[in-house]
Symmetry: C2
Subunit: 396 residues, 2 copies
């Protein structure tokens, strides 16, 4: 596995377009399309929120189908929009399929933006020919920008890997940047590969990679109605099946999903810090996850990060209420190489070193529970004035 | 039951003192004492955090004892302080008991403030005679201020109630104002009554009242290491036992605990809004609680409140990920008298009325799930710039 320069255009066999359709704002790329030359197998992972958007309902029905492409809009989530919202998603994908000469159920849809407002369906349907008419490989570079909402920079990455049948590629793009919680977020992620993988392998490998990456990041603990991650792989009569080849594929995919997760947390709304919360020594894997997630979501930990405040008691406190087994006497807390709590008492600390660490853009908060072998890592951001500003002003 | 003017001094049979002991800062009331003329029964409810402070450990051992008084310090939580922290709490309460001529295990202790710093035990032990030497009824008015940390105003209230044996009183004081989550918070609450109640009745009634009040408020979802609520009632050979009398007592106590809860959320760190989250029509009581709590803790709901942003989709979203049974088609969302979502679709709304409501200091967010009879109410605050400011700068 090797990281590549570039983004979606790295993977051959796909074309792209993105246009300004005035879905909610003027003069903004907000409507886009990813199309495969051939029909694809698709793996999809979706929000577990019981209130889920119309496009999520649509995709859940369709990811088992041969897939031609994905229609994407930003600025409107098409969530809490009832039957009309679902009809709009169905009509829009049917229109796109018709223009592409593909089956009506071979197009998926993903939406992101405000909840509870109907899509301007007439405007969008009228824009479909413009979208399908401008497909090209070069337009790949527009997609990461066209799917953004409050993101401040476009996110994409790519990797190559070598198999017994030669070199293949995986590329992906994603958008954050608020409402990011474990088990997906207001996150949309689109990954494509030129490696032909059978649907059962694709599903299993994608799920494993997502659980270690996009499902282990948290910004504000809010799990959105629209979270969707997709992976398209060309359908083939002779998919990659050699164990070693699939292992290479999984390593490359994990690189792409982890990188996208890191980019999302780096661009968390208002974030000035990125912390890797690593819990070790938990009584179980489940306990390690509980503790890491509680620390990663604690507003007090996150505001202390923003303020460069060495208030590690808040870390111990969050671990304590996480539900994980924990014993104060066996607990160790470290930030990068500076130990703050060990052997049941505050550790003597090098203040200068600690302040230097807390000034860094990113660092690791390491909590060892001293009870077993469970480990887990979460990524989180700090909580800043700008997070409040961005979210207090979002819909108005 | 009748609310009373005044605070702790309303209840006869107790004396109070509060002094500046320079526990962490100069020129600040930080060390205080509540003493009963006679020995008391004590009900105590404590944090469920597995990392709990030394004074919590001490109180858990002692609340079954006859209790003479409670020693309280602000600015230092005496949490994550290991054996030394526990020894300090034991020595300080023993010193106070000696000065008062009481048994060494008849004094409780409560601490609030920064985690992970040892108490200045020598300074505090030297200050004990000054504390016990200045006990008076008039000093009751100092206690609500002496227990404050980031609170902006002192909190107390009182009520009277009439029984077959005449009139009695309950009074209480509490401090917030961050790290407030259901199942207690960085909250300390002290209630006293002149009504003699047997220990088993006192425990049961106190638990019921706390569950409906101080355990149903949330500011930032962080559950602290120090949360403690106490209720002292004079021990007696002839406690109140008439069912109607105990019902009056419970009504008055519920008034006091609910009022203290409301004062704490009103004074939530940086808060500009108070919202009552009322969930009805849930499939079960448990589901109602889940949904109410998820909405009350959602950072996106709380920032929207701060920004007066009518972004009700975030309310639906939080209910959706709460774990409660929910059906979009049966859901109704209302803020005060303005319906925002009903019959599976966004409701036509009176924008002017809605903006007027969102400008109020407090309002009710009413979510009906349309599935059953479960109901629950939580109190929550908004999330403002000042919350971030207060918590980013706390320990430095």
């Amino acid at each position: 596995m090797m990281p590549c320069e570039g983004g979606l255009q790295t993977v051959k066999g796909f074309s792209f377009s993105a246009i300004k359709a005035e879905i909610r704002y003027k003069d903004r790329l907000d409507f886009s399309l990813i199309v495969s030359d051939t029909l694809c197998n698709c793996a999809g992972v979706f929000t577990t929120n019981k209130i889920f958007a119309a496009p999520v309902a649509l995709c859940r029905e369709r990811t088992g189908n041969p897939i031609k492409g994905i229609l994407i809009n930003a600025t409107n989530a098409n969530a809490c929009t009832g039957d009309e919202g679902y009809r709009n998603a169905r009509n829009l994908t049917a229109d796109a399929a018709k223009e592409l000469g593909a089956g009506p159920e071979s197009i998926l849809m993903a939406s992101t933006g405000i909840i509870g407002v109907q899509l301007p369906a007439d405007t969008m349907r009228a824009a479909i020919p413009r979208l399908t008419g401008s497909l090209s490989v070069e337009n790949a570079k527009l997609i990461p920008r066209a799917i953004m909402t409050t993101d401040t920079f476009p996110k994409e990455c790519a990797a190559s890997f070598t198999t017994s049948r030669g070199e293949f590629h995986i590329a992906g793009t994603a958008k954050g940047a608020g409402m990011i919680a474990p088990n997906m977020a207001t996150l949309l992620a689109f990954m494509i590969t030129d490696a032909p993988i059978a649907k059962p392998d694709l599903d299993a490998i994608f799920r494993r990679c997502i659980d270690k990456s996009l499902n282990a990041i948290t910004i504000d603990g809010d799990m959105s109605t629209n979270d969707s991650a997709f992976l398209l792989s060309p359908a083939s009569d002779s998919p990659l099946s050699d164990t070693e080849d699939l292992r290479e594929f999984e390593a490359a995919l994990l690189y792409v999903t982890e990188k996208l997760g890191e980019l999302i947390v780096t661009d968390a709304e208002g974030a000035t810090k990125l912390a890797r919360i690593t819990v070790t020594g938990a009584a179980s894997e489940e306990d390690a996850k509980r503790a890491a997630r509680a620390i990663a979501e604690s507003m007090l930990v996150k505001t202390a990060m923003f303020g460069r405040d060495p208030n590690w008691g808040r870390i111990a406190c969050a671990a304590g209420y996480s539900g994980a087994d924990i014993s104060e006497k066996k607990l160790t807390i470290r930030i990068d190489d500076e130990t703050l709590f060990a052997d049941g008492a505050p550790a003597a600390k090098n203040e200068a070193n600690l302040m230097e660490i807390l000034g860094r853009r990113s660092y690791t908060i390491h909590v060892d529970l001293g009870l077993g072998n469970g480990t887990s890592t979460y990524l989180t951001s700090d909580l800043s004035y700008d997070y409040v500003k961005i979210n207090a002003e979002y819909s108005t």
